[in-house]
Structure formats: C-alpha cells, structure tokens
C-alpha cells in the first residue's frame, strides 16, 4: 500500500511540470498579445511596449517559464496581469467555492447513487425499471442545459431559489444552502446516473456469486448479506468509478460555475482564458492538477482499504 502512495506522489512531479509547461507554451502562442488585450484598442505602440517590458513579455518563452517556475519553488505564483493581485491569493479566495461545490456533489452522488443502485438491484421489477429510465435522463441531459432549465423553473417561474451568486456559510447557512442546491443538482445529474448504473450492475453480479449463495445456505439473514457482504464487495468497482467521476466533476465546474455565476476556480478558468491572463491560467492549471492528484491518492487509498487482495499479499 505504501508503495502505491509513494508511486502516486512521485508521479505528481512530472505531471505538474508537464501540465504547467504545456499550458504556458500554448497560452504564449495566443494571437494578439496580452498587452493589446489589456489595453484594449486604444493603446499606443509605446504603451504596448511599456506593458510588455513591465510584464516581462519581451523575453523568450522558456525564460518566462523558468522565471515562473522559480517563483513557484519560492512559494509565489506570480501576479495577475489584469489587476496585479497575487495569483495565489486570487485562487485561494475562490478554491473554497469550487471545493464546496465538488465535495457536496460527490457526497450527494455517492449516497443517493449507491442507495438507488442497491435498491434497483434488490427490487428489479418496477422500481428497477424506473431507476433505469431516470438514469438515462441523467446521462443524456447536458449539465449546463439542466442548470438553465432548473433556473427557469425554480428561480424564474417559482422564485424559490436564487438563479445565481454564492453566499458564504458564515453569512447565512440557509442562503448558503439555497445557493448550492441548483448547481449541485445540475452537476450531479450525470455522475449520479453513472453511479446508479455501476452500483446496480456490481450488486447484481455480486449477488449471483458463489459466496453469496454459500452465505445464504449457512443461514445468514438476507439484510446482512445484501448490506454488509454484497455491498462491501460491490463497492470496490464503484469506488474506482467515483474517483474518475470526481476528476471529471472538476471539468464540469467550469461550465456550471459560469452558468450560476459562482466565484470559483471553474468560472475563473473560463474568464481568465478569454482575458489572456497568463499567470492566473497557470495557477488554475496547477491547482486543478493538484486536486486531481489528491483525488487519485484518496481513491487508491480507499480502494486498497476495501480490497484485501491489494492490502495483504
């Protein structure tokens, strides 16, 4: 187990380097220089040159990258081109929102998804089929469209939930919750469908296995068999899927945060790309990658804990 964790951590370093350098190179190729974007159409050539020198954009790409890397190793992610704020501070202010959104979604997906999946496996008749149909819908509907539909219905038509904006927990727990409901539903729909399907398939397969038959034959109660033994074994493939979904959710935050105007990393990613704000884009890439690495580590650990074949030789 320890070897696996070590391997993951070792993979992190080249991964971060690859992602950051790749993004750096690409962004530096953006036509229309950053300076023009910042100054708008009104900048004179002299002003453009001045900005370029000020932001260090007149140096070759690899020098800029090395400079940035050097900064990172000293704990600084540079400053935003747009407002000269420290990138780290911008990101840290927004990471809470994204993490809240993502973690809330994962919790909902895990709890609701696994429960529905188990239910569909144990009661295959009407319940199973209706769960199936709902899964289809969840998978098919694009999450941003779902978000807009939810806004149309709950915010505009019913006016019970806010259509945009984020309220901090410290300000008002109730409104914090309200501001999260619709985004979480939009983000969770697709992954929920996948988890329900996976759980159901895994449970059905486990319930047909030989050891379940043996446990039944030895007089163990059905509830104990399903909830303790079958679920424990079915959880193994489901955890793997959850890990992959968790990482995909990050991508989903870009569009969902944009639709619901939530001040998180996702919407920052979208806006900083159109603004050609290089340091911020770099910073977002690094943070996203770190989060993905942490997720992979967590998934591997949970998987190892669940699966004795990995834990004990």
């Amino acid at each position: 187990m320890r070897r696996m964790i070590l391997r993951r951590l070792l993979q992190a370093v080249p991964l971060l380097l690859i992602v950051s350098s790749f993004t750096f190179v690409l962004v530096s190729l953006i036509p229309g220089s950053v300076a023009t974007a910042l100054l708008g159409d009104t900048g004179t050539p002299a002003e453009i040159v001045a900005i370029q020198r000020q932001l260090g954009l007149n140096r070759p790409v690899y020098v800029q990258y090395w400079h940035w890397l050097d900064g990172v190793l000293h704990g600084s992610l540079g400053s935003s081109f747009q407002n000269h704020q420290s990138v780290a501070s911008i990101l840290n202010a927004r990471i809470g929102v994204t993490l809240t959104l993502v973690i809330a979604t994962v919790i909902v997906v895990a709890i609701v998804g696994v429960s529905l999946g188990v239910l569909a496996a144990v009661r295959p008749g009407v319940i199973g089929r209706s769960v199936d149909s709902l899964s289809w819908l969840g998978l098919a509907i694009p999450n941003f469209w779902l978000g807009l539909l939810l806004v149309a219905f709950f915010s505009i038509f019913l006016s019970v939930l806010p259509s945009e904006g984020f309220v901090a927990f410290s300000t008002s727990p109730l409104r914090w919750l309200e501001s999260l409901v619709l985004p979480v539903i939009a983000l969770a729909a697709g992954p929920l469908a996948i988890v329900v399907k996976q759980t159901r398939d895994a449970m059905v397969s486990v319930l047909e296995s030989e050891f379940v038959r043996t446990l039944r034959a030895s007089g163990l109660g059905e509830r104990s068999i399903v909830l303790k033994h079958a679920l424990r074994n079915a959880a193994v493939p489901v955890v793997t899927v959850l890990g992959v979904l968790f990482a995909q959710l990050l991508s989903g935050t870009v569009i969902v945060e944009t639709v619901f105007v939530l001040p998180g990393l996702g919407s920052l990613a979208a806006s900083s790309v159109s603004a050609h704000d290089l340091p911020v884009i770099e910073g977002v890439a690094v943070y996203f990658t770190l989060i993905v690495i942490a997720i992979n580590l967590l998934t591997d650990t949970v998987y190892g804990w669940l699966n004795p074949k990995v834990r004990v030789t």
Binding site: Q11, L26, L29, L148, E210, T214, S251, F288
Partner: protein
Amino acid sequence: MSAVAPVVGVHRVSWTAPVRELLRRPLACGALVYLVCLVAACSAAPLVAPANPNYENLLDVSSGPSLAHLLGTDDLGRDVLSRILFGGRITLLDAAEAVIVFVVVGVPLGLVAGYLGGRLDRLVMSVTDIVLSIPVIIVLLVVAAVFQGDLPLMVSLGIVASPSIIRVVRATTLSVRTELYVKAAEVIGLSRLQVLRRHILPQVLAPALVQVSVFAAAAIVLEAVLGYLGLDVAPPAPSWGSMIAEAATVIDQQPWLMIPSGCVIALTVIALGLVGDAVRDININRRSPTVLRARSIGSGSSQNGARAAEGTPNPEGSVPSGAEALLSVRDLSIVLPNAGGELLIVDAASFDIGRGESLGIVGESGCGKTITARALLGLLPPGGRIAGGSAMFDGEQLVGARKQSRVQLRGKAIGLISQEPMAALDPAFTVGYQLREVIRANRKLGRRAARTESLDLLEQVRLPNPVLVAGRYPHQLSGGMAQRACIALALAGRPKLLIADEPTTALDVTVQAEILDLLTSLRHDTGMAILFVTHDWGVVADFCERTAVMYAGQVVEIGGVDEMFRLPLHPYTEGLLAANPHFAGEGPLPSIPGTVPPPGAWPSGCRFAPRCPYVTVDCKISAIALRPGTEGRVTRCLHPERIGGRTTDVSS
C-alpha cells in the same frame, strides 16, 4: 466409427446473427434510425432546411412552434429548425473529427500494448496514467483560445480522451490473448500479425465500439459547452451550444427557446447510449463460451413443454421408504426457464437418506444432480422452480414451504459445501469473521463464546493453526485449506444433513483424500448425514454407503455401493463402470456410444434406450417408472436380469 451428429439443431451463429439480435431490440433500432436520419438531415441542411438560418424576420420574433416554423423562431426571428440543422453540421462534424482521432490513436496503441506487453506496455500505461490526470477542460479552453477553428480543438480532445479506449482495448486484448484458442493459433504457427488480425481484432471491435459511442456522446456535449462559452463559431452562425447561450439570455421572456437545442443534444446522446448498450449486450452473447454452453443445453425443442408441469411420477411404494429416513424425496421435479418457456430439468427424482448415512448422487454433466441437491435448500438459479413432488426433512415438508421456514432450516438443519472453495468465501472478510458471523446467526452465542467456538470448529476440520487461519483472507489460503474452512462454516449450525456438491472436484487428489477422510470422521463424530454429489465413481466407492445414479434428469438406480459395483441393475451404471480406466486392460476402453440427450430432447420411453446394448421393443414405448429390485435396491430398467454379471456371488 459411427459419426456423431451435433447435439443441438441446425441454428447457426453467423455474421447475420448480430443484425438479427439488433432487430430484436426495438429501442436500439429506433436509436440507430434516429442517428442516421439526423446525420443525413444535417449533412443535407442546405437542401432540407425550410429557411435560411441567418435570415432575421423581426416581425415574427420569439414565436412558439407553428406551421410556418415547426420549432418556432428565436429572439431575432430566425427559424429555429433551420438553425438546428445547420448547427448540427458543426457539432456532428466536430464530434466526428474527435472520434476519428480517438480511434486512430487509441485502438492501435491498446492492441500493441496488450499483445506485446513488456516494456512497451509499461510505457503506454504510464503515459496514459499521466494523461488521465490532466484536467481536460483546461487543455481545451487554452487550445480553443489559441488556435482558430475547431479542428485543433477536436484533435486535442481526441488525444486527451484516448486513454479510456486504450485501456479498454488493452484489457480486452490481454484477456483474449490468454484464451486457449489464441495459444492454439500461435502453436499452429501463425505470425503475430496474423494472430492479431484474425483472432484478437474481431473480439476487440465490440468493446471499442461501446467506448466510441460513449465518447461520441461526450464529444457532442463538450462541443456544445464550447459553443455556450462562445468559443466555437462566430455569430451569427448557429451551433447547438451557442443557441442555448442565446436562449439563456431571453429565458424569462421566451422559455420555449431553451427546449429545441437542448433536446436535440439530449436525444442524440440517448441514441448513442442505446446503440452502445445494444452492441455490448449482443457481444456478450456472442463471446462467452459458458453462456453458449448454457444456451445450447436449454435451447432444445419444447417437446417436453406439455409435460413440464409434473414430470413422470412413480407409482406408490416403488421406492421403499425407510421408516427412519431423515430426508425423503419423492417425485421431485424441477424446471428452469428457457427461450420457449420452461424446461424440465429434473424429472420425478426420488431417494431417501437415513440419519447419519452417506448417500451419493452420481452422474455425468447435465444429469440434474447438482440442481436437485441445491433445490433442497431452495437455492435454485433465478427463474427456476420446483414443479412438483415432495421432500420431507425430519418431519417437515421442504417443497412449497414458506420462505421463512426454509431460511430457518438453512445452516441449522441442512448445511452446504460446494465445488469452488475459494469462490465460496467472501473475499472481503477474514475466515474467522465469517465463521463467527454464521455461528452467531445460527446459535445464540455472545461474541466471546462465538470466537471460542469458531476456533474449535477450525480445529475440528483439522486445520493446523486455527488462530492463524482465522485471521487470514480467503485469497491467502490454499484450495484444501479453503475447503476445510467452508466445511467449518457449514458445521457452524450443527446441521443434521450436509449437502456436499462436488466438494473435491477442483482439488488435487491428495487433498481430496484428506477431505474425504475428514468428512467420514465428522460423520461418525457428529452423526450427521451427508448427501454427496459427484461424477467420480472412485469417490463413491470410497465415501458413500448408498448411492443414486442419475441420467438425463431421472434417477435410474439406487442401492448400496457394494452391491451396485458388483452387479449394476441398470445398463447405464454398467456402462459407466466399464468405461472407467481403472479397469482397463490392453486395448481400447469400452465406451458408451452416443451422447446424453439434453433436456428438451429426451426420448419418450427409456431415455437410455438409444445407447443401450440390451434394448428391447417395449423399452421405447412409454415412460418407465422406478421399480424395486433385489435387496432394497431400485432401478428404472425393465430388464435388469439381462445385464451381464460377474461370476462372483450375487446374492450375498
């Protein structure tokens, strides 16, 4: 040598079979039709669209569906349907580009990594691991901002998403590579390329197609996301994503506008999903040999359909009942579901087991012995049911008993051990934990008492170090140890009858001997009766006091083993004993010509008649019931006296 005809009818599995399978799934067919129409309509948009998608009719703004505009108009008066058709060209073309890159990059890499293995495989795996960790959306956003046009975007998407298909193709290749028919092809002398092309690639196609359909759906949605963010086409050109963005701005005035563009995306994704699912289901049917084996047994004609209900009961008293019998089975019939309805698998089985006795049920594959044994515990495969007969256990009727009472019996009165001991234990819990759980479920014992009892049981089954074994997981045990643990599990409830379903078939012969000795001594120590299902006559001779022989779903002979081996009362028994290599002299082994008729193709009259050397005319006329023979034995043969006997004393 007589030619042997195939067992099942002429039904051929050819390449038209998948098409037929597809036609059997109306939803998937509909999905396929929808996709084809969509692609056709969008490609021919300039010809098919009712209006110019950019034509603004400011007099007819934001109207709902009408005859002139089937899907209404948007806030600039443009016809929504036309915009969807033209927008579809962008989205579908982009998705196609991504899919092509996805396949071209992913499939060869997966094949090569899976087939060649070694360092190349490790390299491909570490690269895909890294690529999987890259946040896709960042890459896409940046590429979208940097490069003009959608092609670089879709190419990057295809590359970045390829790890998923690489993994699937690699996994399939790895599993197919270990199949025996691939090894046979290599032994024949086919080159690596030939093996890949002829044997591996065909098996890889279907899982790869499933991945492609999943990815195509994701690509369409992703393209729509980019459209929503305004990154794919310049206005006023339509794309599905940008249409949703436009609709979002007027959502409070004209909510209808959200629907068409979103729906077409959702429908397309659903259609792709349905097609992918259908491909996966059809492929499972084609590939799995065990599924094929099960199907071939069950797909006979429904000749027995009319009789499926009851089977052929035996006349009263034909099976002498011991007054002391612990378990008394009479005319037990079991059916399983199959394509045409239900199929009779076990036909009026009857036998007794006395207290503390060891009874064998012996027969070849497909005779129904395993399913008979499991039916006693109510453990039939899904859809199977007992169609008639009775099974009296210690005064209680098992057939038709309420589920509650059957559950009560399990473990406490009747225990079970089965063929694959490793698979019979829950891999997620230690042996000791499972044992304690079963003990506490069957007897009211506290935690500490259960722990002591579990160690006692492990000792009783002669495991060398009970404490060590209790702390082990099933995968850490050898086959013999695992089977002993299963026996301990079965004994936990102190049952009166142990059903042993081929418990030593998967074990080495030296381990088998130990397990048989263990079971014999347990039987003597606890007075437990054992019902031993097997195909091995040596085991019967070693372990059983009496045995029942099954053939084609029927019990054909019951008797004590000494008498039966000396003088069989049924030609099938005689044939099996003769074919045993133990008794072979020089020259060929005597063998029973022909094959066992599968359920659904049982002949009327004696089922063994087509293969029987003593057959007479009256054997084939009508069904034959069990009848008493000498010394309390039972046989289903009309003419047991014709069976060639030994010169040794028959009557003792």
